[in-house]
Symmetry: C2
Subunit: 354 residues, 2 copies
């Protein structure tokens, strides 16, 4: 487990094994006498890394050959543009989005640059404190876009809607954290830097049959079809981030996969939310069924206790607990690699604040 | 020096100190008790890394505050699109390019998606074996784009043309290798993975005054102005690649800067080209003044000696010497971090092949 109790919202804690093995690979990769950082991305050893990194995603998600897996650079924010470039029809394109937080709003902004965007559900007026659910999406939309977990606000979609168009989801902050039927989605993307690696790589999982239907002349680097044709090697990929992502997913795979991670994540979240609900000094930002298992946002009811609490959790070796500037208070991010012992340390600090 | 003599074309050899220090940072960053891979990109320590990584580029290039430095994800190939998105006027935009190799052609392809592209100089018909020079570029062009070094073909621009429009240069494979008046350029970009770090980060150096003049609605992630406003932190940057790039540039800085690297690079290239010219068994792909100091492309005149030569250089601990598939033969990439001792080992192997 980590030397510190790292509740950072991302980049975030990864398995200690990933730190060890990736540091070793930088000094000597696969016993080659070369650093991972100095080998050609076309070398046999790195092509094997990329192939396995793509394959393990399909295995973990239980997806078939109708899906393709890509590792791209540029971050999930680049996907905000790539999704409409690849799926929004030219001329009279129209897409439906839910607005559930800062990143959802970022995706909406990019969609609007290429077509009509209808926001079919929004919690913006309530400072994004819940997940909107009462909406329908008809077949006149090119696609529907949602954000599965809202890192900043601490809300999470428990279920995904049945829509009569393509279902696209930004899973950046809760991918691989719970058992989901991934085959309900047509396109999933996620920045690696939460549950699947360090910053610098972005995962895209896409159903092949949905591509190539917009009539749009897409910039090459934004074209999923081209990246698929080149097996994620159209240009030099982010070698180190992809390798560290593979190590992270291998660690998940050999420790029981997504199902085992889900059990741990539910236990961690229950431990913390039970204490917040019990402790009269704290309250959560988001109540009820939409609370995120990944990011618990909460605050002190009495702000004069702030210095005391801050000193206490820092003294306990906790880091990364400050809330995002647009919400304030505290945020405990409990990604896959955070041990339940770290949550217990936080809960003990909260209990002792009386 | 490296455990192997690594002539890889990129990703490529970096200073051994970069491997050591970046591996250490993965285990414990700045004595924080946290890995570089698990810290927030908004943490004080990483903001300092990004600030210094941007500042050191300006110092090494001797550029003033009229330029901005960005580290972006996505690779130089994404710049092929970002350049026209930011500089090509909407409606009747027109740009001039030289076609000097695979990557130049890639840049041209993306330019054509947004406006008119005139190829004012090309060596395509001669398999890119020289640098075209006889052309003029008038003020009716939005910008002129060139590629300073052609990694695949082994040619390099010695001088840059005076043009009556913006001068844009892809310096991916020879940046920081030689003394240049960088202030003659309006925009410079380079994938990090040759002279300035591992794969996964891309450097952009841009004169601020040239931006915001196209009337184009640019996708946010492709908009230089937005990245500048957010100090290269619009979204989560590729943390590890940026840190390793900073280490690489700090190594360059404390070892005499670009001027000292140039002396070494000229000595290494002379050593190898002198042997190729002397040795009746070999000939270069490119002759005369356009030969690259970074990538020497050459071949055996008698292909029946191939197995003997290949066995000899492999036995000498040399790696990465095979030519690119579109040229064949051999390619010795002699980036900043390659010691002259490695070139001597190669030259000795060539001398002994008699």
């Amino acid at each position: 487990m980590s030397k510190k109790h790292n509740f950072s919202a991302g980049p975030c804690i990864l398995p200690q094994e990933v730190f060890q093995k990736s540091a070793e690979a930088i000094l000597d990769f696969n016993g080659s006498g070369l650093s991972l950082l100095e080998i050609s991305h076309r070398s046999k050893d790195f092509v094997a890394v990329m192939d396995e990194a793509r394959a393990i995603v399909k295995r973990l998600m239980k997806l078939g050959d109708d899906y393709e897996v890509l590792y791209l650079g540029g971050g999930a924010s680049l996907q905000f543009a790539m999704v409409p470039f690849n799926l929004m029809k030219t001329g009279n394109g129209k897409a439906a989005y839910t607005d559930t937080g800062t990143w959802a709003a970022g995706a909406i902004k990019e969609g609007k640059k290429l077509g009509t965007v209808d926001v079919v559900g929004s919690s913006k007026e309530d400072n994004y404190s819940f997940i909107p659910k009462k909406y329908t999406v008809g077949s006149d939309y090119d696609y529907f876009h949602c954000t599965s977990n809202n890192t900043i606000y601490g809300t999470q979609m428990r279920e995904f809607p049945k829509v009569n168009t393509l279902l696209v989801c930004d899973m950046s902050s809760d991918i691989f954290s719970r058992v989901i039927d991934f085959s309900q989605f047509d396109l999933i993307y996620a920045g690696a830097q939460k549950n699947m690696g360090p910053a610098g790589a972005t995962l895209v999982v896409v159903k092949k049959e949905i591509l190539g239907k917009t009539g749009r002349d897409i910039p090459s680097m934004l074209d999923y079809s081209l990246h698929i044709a080149k097996e994620s090697m159209y240009n030099t990929p982010p070698v180190f981030p992809v390798y560290a992502s593979l190590l992270t997913l291998q660690h998940l795979d050999k420790n029981g996969g997504i199902a085992a991670a889900e059990v741990q994540n539910e236990a961690k979240a229950k431990l913390l939310y039970d204490e917040i609900d019990r402790n009269a000094l704290f309250e959560t930002f988001c109540n009820g069924e939409d609370r995120s298992l990944m990011n618990a946002t909460f605050k002190l009811l009495d702000d004069t206790r702030k210095e005391e609490f801050d000193n206490a959790w820092k003294a306990a070796g906790i880091s990364g607990l400050n809330g995002h500037r647009s919400v304030g208070g505290y945020r405990a991010s409990m990604y896959n690699a955070l041990p339940i012992e770290s949550v217990q340390v936080l809960v003990d600090v909260m209990k002792n604040l009386n």
